[in-house]
């Protein structure tokens, strides 16, 4: 089965002490038998890392058959919308990542809502952190889901350690919310999410390289899904989302692919 890991990182960022050039995730993907991975930086462009988008673009150019780029952008930046448009139209990026703790804004902050709506113009998915931290609580996603119903919004980590039930609950309420399985420590909760939301709304992700993709995959194997559901979770769901991304903007031609 062709597998796409919908949540991994490529970055060398001293402040966090995480040094993961593209070769690190490629080696782990090989170990796990995973063909492709969505990648993003640890640091947000342009505030923490001015060249973050170029860095991720270069990494994906090096491994074009393996790595799929998302733009990680701080929505507070004055040029956030422009950067996102350039990333999708000019650099061929496939999605937007926002980490609310890193950018000090909850999911319903107006800057986040604005950038999410911008991503939705391109039909690009938006991966947001979710967990137990004060700016990442799943219940905070309800306002965002209401204000950007056209956006495809993925709750990374399925609510972390103690907000898994909340993550499933808000996804039940809003059709434009999905979850990824990355680092969720509870295989039985992933199974529950699939039962309650449908396998089409649960995406396999590892949050590698820190979280080992092979171990994360083992979590999916342990819940013994039917082959059809595995196919959706491990590949088809993210593939259909990525295929829907439009790399054009009105009145603008891309500079390069």
């Amino acid at each position: 089965m062709h597998i796409i890991d919908s949540h991994t990182h490529v970055d060398e960022y001293e402040a966090f002490g995480w040094f993961d050039p593209p070769e690190v995730i490629i080696e782990l993907l090989d170990e796990a038998g995973i063909e492709q991975a969505v990648v993003m930086t640890y640091a947000d462009a342009p505030v923490l890392k001015s060249d973050a988008l170029q860095y991720i673009h270069d990494a994906c150019k090096k491994y074009p058959d393996r790595l799929i780029p998302y733009a990680r952008i701080n929505p507070h930046a004055n040029n956030a919308a422009t950067l996102l448009e350039e990333a999708i139209v000019d650099l061929g990026m496939k999605g937007l990542k926002i980490h609310q703790e890193s950018v000090t804004a909850s999911a319903h902050h107006k800057a986040v809502v604005s950038l999410v709506k911008k991503a939705a113009v391109f039909n690009a998915p938006i991966l947001l952190h979710s967990g137990d931290e004060p700016l990442s609580l799943p219940q905070q996603f309800t306002r965002l889901a209401e204000e950007a119903p056209e956006a495809t919004i993925i709750l990374a980590h399925m609510g972390g350690y103690h907000h898994t039930d909340d993550a499933i609950l808000v996804c039940e309420k809003y059709d434009n919310l999905l979850v990824d399985t990355s680092a969720c420590p509870y295989p039985h909760k992933i199974k529950e999410a699939i039962e309650r939301l449908g396998a089409h709304r649960v995406l396999f992700g590892s949050d590698g390289p820190g979280c080992n993709p092979k171990l994360e995959l083992q979590k999916i194997r342990r819940i013994e899904l039917s082959e059809k559901k595995q196919q959706l979770v491990l590949h088809d769901n993210i593939m259909s989302i990525l295929e829907g991304v439009r790399h054009t903007a009105p009145g603008r031609r891309p500079h390069c692919s």
Binding site: H99, D132, Y161, A183, P185, H188, C211, N212
Partner: protein, 257 residues
Amino acid sequence: MLIDGFTMVGTSINGYQLGAEELLASMSSNGVDKGVIVPVQPMTYRLEPQNEAVAVMQMRYPDRFIGFCRIDPRQGEYAIAELWRCVLQLGLKGLVLHPMEEGYTINDAPAIRLVREAGSLGVPVIVAAGYPWVSHALQIRSVAEQAEGTTIIMSHGGQINISGLAQADAFLALETCNSLHIGTNGVYRQDFLEKCIDAFGPERVLFTSMAPIFHQGFELDRVRSIKMKESDRGLVLGENMTRILEDSSRTAYEPRG
């Protein structure tokens, strides 16, 4: 000898349950030889009968179970007396503190006193660690500093945070306090465990599943996914717990009269 250093048996007021037979079946299917068993917080709020039940399970399956008692330190003199009863009369081998479920802060004076008492009785202490406000790693280090000589094992790698934001504190606690150890259950980013093993040695890391909250088989997968010297993996998987318990039995308090 593969030892799971932290499991909880009984029916918890917090909505989870695990029976002795069910745990034995899980251990057998996962190749776990022995498990540390700990009472849950029951519907009655009374831990003493739970400690007795754990002692009975330990007597019934001496080759499979290692019983630890669970005590609420806010009970003051009564808590001290219960610790003595559990160790000296019931033959339990360690103490577990769960500040989150019982509702106290780990470095409050009564908890420090109980940890000191455990040290003087020569038994190790497991702390349900990483819960913000009540048991984060530096609060536990504060306890360790005031209860010198007591072996303390922090569950969850000493931190519960799915952004990795609490890892620096857990690392600092381990770096500055040799009596602290970590359990592996639910740890976000396996490279944190690898970093701890590199920095402090494999002797400070123990396999704990914290079943039934976490899945014993998947938590074993987690330990097996750690990139470390194969010759050292046995330490994490059981030899460290064996050593800690043997050290305890050597230094154990001799009851008077």
